[in-house]
């Protein structure tokens, strides 16, 4: 006798499904503390009180912006100045660049 494998498999699955569920487990010692600690750590990481990297990034950007503005103002003053000496200096600068 060799029953249909599909039916045999169904019988096997039905029997396996009738396994009584195990008792409600107790919370293992220390697990609650570990979970709460991990949750608190994640919360702290999400809302940092003082982020050194962010402050450094903002300071660098501000310094870069100041440098750019100062350079623009200096170049603009040099080319738009009515001072004859500035024109001479400008001519000399351009001439030296041409050479």
């Amino acid at each position: 006798m060799n029953p249909d494998p599909l039916k045999s498999l169904d019988r096997l699955l039905r029997c396996a499904a009738s396994t009584p569920p195990k008792d409600n487990p107790e919370v293992p010692f220390g697990l609650e503390t570990r979970v709460i600690a991990a949750w608190k750590e994640a919360r702290t990481a999400e809302t940092p009180e003082f982020n050194v990297l962010a402050v450094f990034q903002k300071a660098s950007l501000a310094a870069l912006a100041c440098t750019a503005i100062a350079a623009t103002v200096s170049v603009s003053a040099l080319f738009h100045s009515q001072d004859p000496q500035a024109h001479v200096a400008n001519y000399a600068l351009v001439a030296s660049l041409d050479r």
Partner: protein, 197 residues
């Protein structure tokens, strides 16, 4: 799970405000539920406690995403199932199972299945479960998961869809393919042994 004596919305609001006693209360309340899911889908050589911890840490971290539309247990079970599934992906599939791998009890179960069309006795349930788990180990993690939820835990397709995040058609197709593979693995043990004898 009875929610009558537990004010879930209030507990969740307090956890979102960072109140530790509320987080502890939620953990103690839902630990048995999560542990049962994890135990049912636990990959071999994986610590049940670790997976429970991962599930709760993920759940606490994603609490803002829980809109309250579905039941909290479904939402939590989906996180638990996904955590187990991710862990199962690291497990290597067993290429095949031989009858000699099933042990003495498994061997007796197979004898019964081959020689008779009668149902297996209730006393063989634990051994039958071991045989099924050996066969399931030959399947891909998602196939293993869907068959465990549908056939061993006897959950309806709609519930499996809610727990896994797959739509019902996907659940049915995966279950069908998984059953085909399981049937082939089962038949292979039968025919392999018949050739030997």
């Amino acid at each position: 799970m009875d929610e009558a004596d537990f004010d879930l919305p209030d507990c969740l609001a307090r956890i979102r405000n960072g109140e530790e006693p509320a987080a502890r209360a939620l953990f103690r309340r839902y630990y048995p539920y999560v542990a049962a899911i994890v135990r049912a889908h636990l990959p071999p050589r994986t610590d049940e406690e670790d997976l429970c911890q991962m599930t709760f840490v993920k759940a606490f971290g994603a609490l803002d995403q829980y809109s309250g539309k579905g039941t909290f247990t479904h939402w939590l079970s989906r996180i638990a199932v996904t955590t187990c599934l991710n862990q199962l992906r690291f497990e290597k599939r067993r290429p095949e199972v031989r009858r000699s791998d099933l042990g003495e009890h498994g061997d007796l179960i197979f004898d019964h299945l081959i020689s008779s069309t009668a149902e297996l006795p209730d006393g063989d349930a634990a051994a039958a479960r071991e045989v099924v788990e050996s066969l399931l180990a030959t399947l891909a993690p998602k196939e293993r998961l869907v068959l465990t939820l549908l056939h061993l835990e006897d959950r309806p397709v709609s519930e499996v869809a809610a727990m896994t995040g797959w739509n019902q058609a996907v659940v049915k197709v995966r279950a069908f393919r998984a059953r085909q593979k399981l049937r082939r693995a089962f038949a292979k043990i039968q025919t392999g042994d018949n050739h030997e004898s």
